[in-house]
Symmetry: C2
Subunit: 213 residues, 2 copies
């Protein structure tokens, strides 16, 4: 398999965690979003969308969208299972994954922050307020979901799954951007537990070939 990834991209990071949890080997291709490499003709021939991640499977088929990729991997390489197979347990995991994937991350990624600065000419303070507004509203909902339905050391149980693949990059980016998350105790506790897990360490930005300090 091959993965097109940017070290600091949350969505790439989710997929890297899933691959690491499953112990799957892959060839890494760095796509530097800061330099616009996702808009090159060569890359858009592989991915319909100017975004990362993109997985190329062993048959050469390209799949975009992090949650679609992890679902595909989970069906094809089910050990360990990252998404419960059915019922309410499955719905709870997907609810958390989609809360992060649809309600939090899309408002705070590089392309949106770039638009706020370059097209709307917002000040750094306005941009930071934007970031914090959506992150804090979203992580409040995440914390409530985990309080109501979560259990165990990770989001749902004592082994990491899809919800944790989504939580970690989002929390890491929020902390990097200076958000105060102290009141989200359960979210932060899970984040800390994940920080000590070898697969999460392996998938982290600083351990990627394209990492820039």
């Amino acid at each position: 398999m091959q993965l097109y990834s940017f070290f600091n991209s949350s969505t790439s990071w989710r997929v890297r965690i899933a691959l690491a949890l499953k112990g799957l080997e892959y060839q890494h291709h760095g796509i530097n979003l800061r330099h616009g490499e996702q808009r090159s003709t060569a890359y858009l021939a592989l991915n319909a969308s100017p975004s990362v991640p993109l997985l190329i499977d062993d048959e050469g088929q390209g799949i975009g969208q992090s949650l679609a990729i992890i679902d595909y991997l989970d069906n094809r390489y089910p050990q360990p299972q990252l998404i419960p197979l059915e019922g309410l347990a499955r719905a709870r995991v997907l609810e958390v994954a989609n809360l992060v994937g649809c309600d939090i991350h899309p408002l705070n990624n590089l392309r949106v922050l770039g638009y706020l600065q370059k097209e709307l000419l917002l000040s750094d303070q306005q941009k930071d307020s934007w970031y914090q507004h959506w992150v804090e509203e979203g992580i409040q909902a995440l914390e409530t979901l985990l309080e109501r339905h979560g259990y165990g050391r990770y989001c749902f149980g004592d082994e990491p799954g899809l919800a944790d693949c989504c939580l970690v990059p989002q929390v890491a980016n929020a902390l990097r951007m200076g958000c105060n998350l102290q009141r989200f105790e359960r979210t932060l506790a899970i984040y800390q537990v994940c920080q000590a897990h070898p697969a999460f360490i392996q998938a982290s930005p600083r351990h990627q070939p394209d990492f820039i300090a």
Copy 2:
């Protein structure tokens, strides 16, 4: 079952299409996003997130996030199947659903447009440019995905599925906001086919109990 929905919400609309395609009956609760009803204490006791839709299943369990809800319904009531069960066919459907759900819709919903106007004091022209920018970039990617991998009268085949549940509300809202989508021929053709399908008609905003002209 019960569904908390706002007639004009794309994410509510997706779930309404899925319910209609499966012929499932449910009790409808209107949540007026324009009046902030999603932030009431009573509603937040049911849904961790100040958003619609929320499904309450027959056991009284509440599930948020439209894509998690449709996945749950598709497992529990598999006729007709809206998401292929495995392999690349499944990945292609989820790729389209997540493209709409993560890359297009979150930037253009009511809460975001409200923030642009009320917090950032953008002009109508700036707000419209924001809307069109993300919609056109996103629907370009959608069109490319459908050109590369789609087939049949709907997104993937001759029966509607999850990808169509996501495409229709997004295209409808883009047209309502004045976006010129003429160059996205395949996307528009699928939209038109769906417009004639009884389940899509039943789920449309103007046929909801909370519709406001």
